[in-house]
Every structure is written in C-alpha cells, then in structure tokens.
C-alpha cells in the first residue's frame, strides 16, 4: 500500500553495531562527521576495510573458515549487543536475527566455481564448503550469540538491510520475540556492481541495530536511541517510474503517511533519501521524495540539497546511515524518515521518532 503502516507495538532501537571503513562501534560512529555520502570516484573501484582486525575482535579461533561478511556480521552483532547492554545471559529464544545482504557469498561462490573447474570438487575445502550459501552470515550470528528466536536472510539489491529492519520490527510486533538484531552485512562486491551502485565500493561492511519492544527495553532500563513508529515496503515498477504523475502521487502519499504516523509536538522531520548514485531509476524515485521535502517548511533533507546519494556499502549503506544519525542525535525534537530506494525498484521507508 502507498502509505506506511503504523506499528501496533512500541519498538525502540537500543543499540547499534557498525562495522565499516568509517567507523567500528558506536563511539567511532558518533565521531564521524560524514553523512555517509559517497566520495567522488577515485582511481580504485574497491576500498579496503583495513581497520577491521578479526583476531582482535573475535579472538584467535572460530572465524578463519568463515567468509568476511560473516566475520563482520558477528562483530556487528556483538557491538550492537554491547551498545544495547544486552544481558549476556539473555535467553537466546528471545532474540531473533534478520540480516540483509547482497554480496555475502559472492567472492566465495566465484572462488569455489573456479576451483571446481580447475580441480574438481576437491578444490573446495570441506571447512569452507557451507560458505556458498548467502545466509551463512546471518546463521553465524545465531551460532555465535545463541540467538534462536528466528533467523532470516533478505537479499534485494541495496534495500535488503532496510527490509531486514522492517521485517524484524514486524516480527517483534507479532510477538515472535521481544528483541531482534537486524541490519546488513556485506562481503566483497563484484566489479560490475559499480554500474548500478556507485563508482567506488567498499570491500565489506556491516551494521546491526538492536530492536526491542518498549516493554522489554523498559523492564531492563535500556536507553533507547529512537522509536520506530511505522514503515513501508513496496515496489515501484518501471512503468510507474516512467509516469511522473503516478510516481509523485505514490511517493508523496507515502511521505504524507509517514508524517501522520508521528506523534504530535515534534519540531520537524529529517528526511534521509538514500539511493545509489549510479542508478538513474533510483534517482527518479528520489527526486520525487526530494520534491515532497522541499515543499514542506517542517522537513529537511539529510545530507544537503541532494540528500543521500550513497551505496558504497551496498545493502549495509542505509543501516549505517541510520545508525550514524541515531548515534549523533542530541536533540529529541525532530523525527527521522529514511527512504531507501534500490536500483531495481525496491523501496523501503522507516519512520522514527525520538524517545522521551
């Protein structure tokens, strides 16, 4: 439907776990001045995640056979749990995991296939064999943390991390668990993905948010960073993108609904229009959202007049931007609407308000 759906249950964000070349952990994230817009293309198309030291974060054992995205996801989960001050003894049946990813298995699948062609199936290490499956990163979070309420992997291009956040909110609303870790983890992207995402991509990233029902968070005196009020997930087919009137009607109806979902008394709304700079299709949808924002006196775009052109961390980009804004928010008077637009037509909207 072209209006966000209000959550019946109160869902709050109580922790963030970013792993990126900009920042690892909330403290570093809060100190990063960037709004996570992509820097202009440089000579290289792939930037290393050189600040990530798996041994320092995960210890000496238990991760070496795992693909990089699973390592990033494990660290992001630990950081989000620490940031939320989740009890280490929390019953794992009470915590679910929803992870978005696009490239968690890409490098592994490519390497496996080349090894099979060169050496047959013996070219694959049995220890690494499971890593062809794109859900290994999410699964490893549950193995590592003992989170057993549910474990879901979503993979739509660019928007999967935001879909994961919305899916987790709805699972909590349905009473499937009171806590969920949700977001995205990415491994090394293929070079051709620069053609629809961004000229320069990061070799990996992850960002998980700790989501909780307000009751659960209050019972343990957690300190919420924001409350998820509503969300939407829909598809904008090419036929609608090519019809400006229909596109404006759909986008503006969504954003009008987002504002209606907010509690009274806020001084305004920040609109974060996150889309990949290399996608003309996403840009057309973004332009409609930006027009809506420009027409309102109480709304402001995050990241300046052009908003959030960013995709270097693929599906982790939007969760990282969201975490960044939650980590740096000091005033409790403005709402945040994140509009995440994929190059293939996917659109996810998350509506957050400050918490008292």
């Amino acid at each position: 439907m072209s209006t966000p759906r209000l959550l019946d249950a109160g869902i709050v964000v109580t922790g963030v776990g970013p792993v990126s070349r900009h920042a690892i952990g909330r403290a570093e994230l809060a100190g990063v001045a960037t709004e996570w817009s992509d820097s202009p293309a440089r000579d290289e198309w792939l930037r290393p995640l050189d600040a990530f030291d798996a041994a320092r974060r995960l210890g000496r054992k238990g991760w070496r056979a795992l693909p990089p995205a699973a390592r990033y996801a494990m660290v992001a989960a630990r950081l989000a749990g620490e940031d939320a001050r989740l009890d280490a003894d929390l019953d794992g049946n009470l915590v679910g995991v929803v992870l978005g990813t696009n490239f968690a298995a890409d490098e592994t699948v490519d390497r496996f296939d080349r090894a099979v062609l060169a050496e047959g199936v013996r070219g694959i290490s049995p220890l690494e064999a499971p890593n062809f499956s794109i859900n290994v990163a999410a699964s490893q979070v549950s193995v590592d943390r003992g989170y057993r309420a549910f474990n879901i992997t979503l993979i739509d291009l660019f928007t999967a991390g935001s879909s994961a956040l919305w899916t987790a909110c709805q699972a909590l609303e349905d009473g499937r668990a009171p806590v969920a870790l949700a977001g995205a983890a990415e491994g090394r992207p293929p070079r051709q993905s620069t053609e629809v995402l961004a000229p320069t991509l990061d070799e990996g990233a992850a960002c998980l948010l700790c989501l909780e029902t307000t009751d659960h968070a209050a019972a343990r005196a957690a300190r919420p960073l924001g409350q998820v009020r509503a969300g939407a997930q829909l598809f904008v087919p090419a036929a609608v993108v090519e019809a400006p009137d229909r596109l404006d009607a759909l986008t503006h109806s969504l954003l009008d609904g987002a504002v209606r979902a907010l509690p009274a008394g806020l001084s305004g709304v920040d609109v974060d229009v996150v889309r990949p700079p290399a996608s003309a299709r996403a840009e057309a949808v973004a332009a409609a959202a930006i027009r809506w924002t420009a027409a309102r006196t109480d709304a402001a775009l995050v990241g300046g007049p052009d908003g959030g052109r960013a995709a270097a961390q693929a599906s982790a980009t939007a969760p990282l931007r969201l975490a960044s804004q939650l980590a740096r928010r000091t005033t409790a008077s403005r709402a945040l609407v994140q509009v995440v637009i994929g190059p293939e037509g996917h659109l996810v909207v998350l509506v957050l308000s400050p918490t008292a």
Binding site: N93, N135, S142, T153, A232, Q233, F235, A239, G345
Partner: protein
C-alpha cells in the same frame, strides 16, 4: 482475517501445472538425470526440469533459467486464481521469492567460457524485481534467501504482508536451478546420495539436487469472495526458530525444530490431534531425517504412529530455496484432495524414523496439514495449511 490460497503454479521434474504435478507426486516415479550441461562436475546428477521455451523452440541457455521457471509458475498461479491482469493500479500485489542461488548460472557460464561477462551476468538475484516490472506490481517485492527454508519463509512473509494490509494479494513461492558451486559444495560435504533421494530409507546417503519453481496466490478470504475466487486451502500460521548450533548440521536434539512446530500449532489454534497429515522437510540426509522424525514424534504424541507423513523430495529432489514453496503447494493440494502422496524410493525404512510413511498414497482425514522446512544454519519453520470451511 482468514488467509486463503486461490492459485497454484508449479514447474517441476514431474510436470508443469497443479494437475500434472499432483499426478506426478501420486505416481511417485521419477529419477535424477545426469548433469550434462555443467562442465566441471562430471558424474553428478539431479532431478531436472527439462523444458523448451514457451513457443516450443529450443531453449536459449543464455536466458535466466531460474527466472523463467519462476515466471511460468507465477503465471500459472495467477491464471488459476483468476487474476489475469496485475496492472490494475488499485490492486496492490506483492511478490515474495525464495531462492538459494538464483540465476547464478550466467556467472558460471562466464567462468567456464560459454559466454562473456556482461551487465546481466553479475547479479543472480534480480528475478523478483524483473517479475515486479513485468507484472507492474506495487506491493512488496522481496527475495528471501534463508537457504532451504527460503520458500516457506517467503510464504510466511507474504501471508503476513496480506494480513497486515500491505498487499491485497501476494504471490509467494520459490525457484531454484542447479548451481555448480552449490552442488560441488554438497558433493564435497559428502551430502549427496549417489543413487536417488530416499528420505527415511535405511540406506539413504544424502540428498539429491532438484530444480523447479512453485508459487501460491494468497489473499484474504474476504478479498477472494468479493471477486468470486475459489479458495483451495487456508494458510493458518507459522512457527519460526533457529538452532543456533552449527552451519550445516541440525541440532540432534531437535529442540528448536520442535519449538517451531509447537509455535505453528499454537498460532493456528490447532491441537496436535487435529493435524491430519505432515509434509516433512525429508531431505534424505541421515541426521536430518532422524531428527525430524524425533521432532514429529514429540510434537504429534501418540498420534505420530498413525498421522500420515510424506516427503516430496523423494520425487522432486531437493530444490533448495524452492523446496518449502513446493511443500506449501503440496499441502494445499493434500487439503483439497484429502490424499497424501507416497514417499518414493522407500525400500527398507529406517527403524529410527518411526513415522507413518508409505510407498503408496495415503488417505487423509479431516483437519490441517503441517509442513516443515529446515535449512543451513539451523533455520526452521513450520506452517499449518488448513481446509476451507
């Protein structure tokens, strides 16, 4: 709100379309074929879908095959539901696709020299969006890749989408084709039966890859009634859990799989004795079948010995991300026909799998059908599919 299934579509190793599929399952006769179109994995086999293009011409192997199968299943399901045109701007239709490896074949062809790298060879998971564009969908379009439980999770998420009013109608299903790196990994893990897929048989040695696509049309009973659509079955509820134990092996105690089953029954408001049949995950892997048998015995209690159970992978092979969707579609047909397809290739049943399995079709009494889907990472889901009242 009651959620109903009003259309089914399948492209499977035993036939296309609900009727051919159902008759194929009841016959219980199929066999894996040698894989001859994938350099690098000689002596491997799978339950394949052999099909020409829609116009009868020889298939162009450069076209995305997983998408082709999904498209066929979706069109069948829409036609069966009497939903010819999804472009009605007032109708919000969503699509939820479960898949493990998507259309990775294009990249495989680049690596083995059968084609050049291009803009259409690097991203294996664009099928759902392609269908979204073709059908001009404006509901949620989502690709779920929770390994071998993806198809069932796609149905569960689609059901919730309709229940919450995010979509008027949801297409839910899965699609999978042979993936060389995935099959090679299974071979390397020693998880492939060299003969055929034989769940619950004492001599089973693993699973066997399968191909296919299955889709269901979901909508509220009220919505179906308003457009005079005939419901086949209801989607009552699902239970989710995760072992959090190991990337490939299920937790042998089956505690979390049992929790998913109990949760599905609880949410559906169904007692174990109201389960008329079970569509097992039934992969043919020794530990998986034993664990699932234990879980179903615990869940169904004294009735476990008499509640008919089937395992459609014995006929279809293991279609990974599509498998759970095939189980959902099968459960809908079981509810509609009150018959349960046989477990094929059952020569000597494993004495540790004490479920009511049969190599012949079994009658099914009144009540609901429980289905299970389990996956890499210990991800579990059980769904309850019920009769239309």
């Amino acid at each position: 709100m009651t959620l109903v299934i009003t259309g089914l579509g399948m492209v499977s190793p035993v036939g296309e379309g609900p009727e051919a599929y159902w008759q194929g399952l009841l016959a219980g006769v199929s066999a894996p074929q040698p894989i001859t179109d994938r350099p690098g994995i000689p002596d491997s086999h799978a339950y394949r879908v052999a099909r020409a293009d829609a116009d009868g011409s020889t298939r162009d192997d450069r076209r995305p095959r997983c998408l082709d199968l999904a498209r066929s299943a979706v069109r069948q399901a829409l036609a069966g539901a009497g939903l010819g045109d999804t472009r009605d701007s007032a109708l919000h239709v969503g699509l939820f696709l479960g898949t493990g490896t998507g259309d990775g074949e294009a990249a495989e062809q680049v690596r083995d020299g059968r084609r050049s790298a291009g803009t259409d060879t690097w991203w294996a998971y664009g099928g759902a969006a392609r269908l979204g564009d073709e059908l001009e969908l404006t509901g949620p379009v989502q690709t779920v890749s929770t390994a071998c439980a993806a198809g069932a999770y796609a149905v569960a998420l689609a059901a919730q989408s309709v229940l919450r009013g995010e979509a008027d109608v949801a297409l839910a299903g899965g699609a999978e084709v042979v993936s060389r790196p995935a099959l090679a990994a299974f071979l390397r893990l020693g998880a492939v039966d060299p003969v055929h897929c034989r769940p619950f048989d004492a001599k089973r040695q693993g699973t066997v890859y399968g191909e296919g696509a299955a889709f269901l049309v979901l909508e509220s009973a009220e919505h179906a009634r308003a457009r005079s659509a005939r419901p086949l079955a209801t989607v009552d509820a699902g239970g989710w859990s995760c072992d959090g134990h190991h990337l490939t092996a299920p937790a042998a105690d089956g505690r979390q799989a049992a929790r998913a089953g109990r949760e599905a029954l609880r949410r559906a408001g169904v007692l174990p004795e109201q389960i008329a049949a079970v569509v097992c995950h039934g992969t043919g892997t020794p530990l998986n079948d034993r664990t699932e048998s234990r879980v179903m015995t615990e869940l169904l209690g004294p009735r476990a010995a008499t509640t008919p159970v089937t395992a459609v992978k014995s006929v279809l092979g293991h279609s990974g991300g599509a498998a759970g969707a095939f189980s959902c579609a099968t459960a809908a047909l079981v509810v509609a026909h009150r018959r349960l397809p046989p477990v094929a290739n059952l020569d000597v049943r494993d004495v540790e799998c004490r479920l009511a399995i049969s190599s012949s079709p079994q009658p099914v009494g009144s009540g609901s059908v429980l289905l299970n889907a389990y996956a890499f990472g210990g991800n579990n889901i059980s769904l309850v599919i019920g009769p239309v009242s």
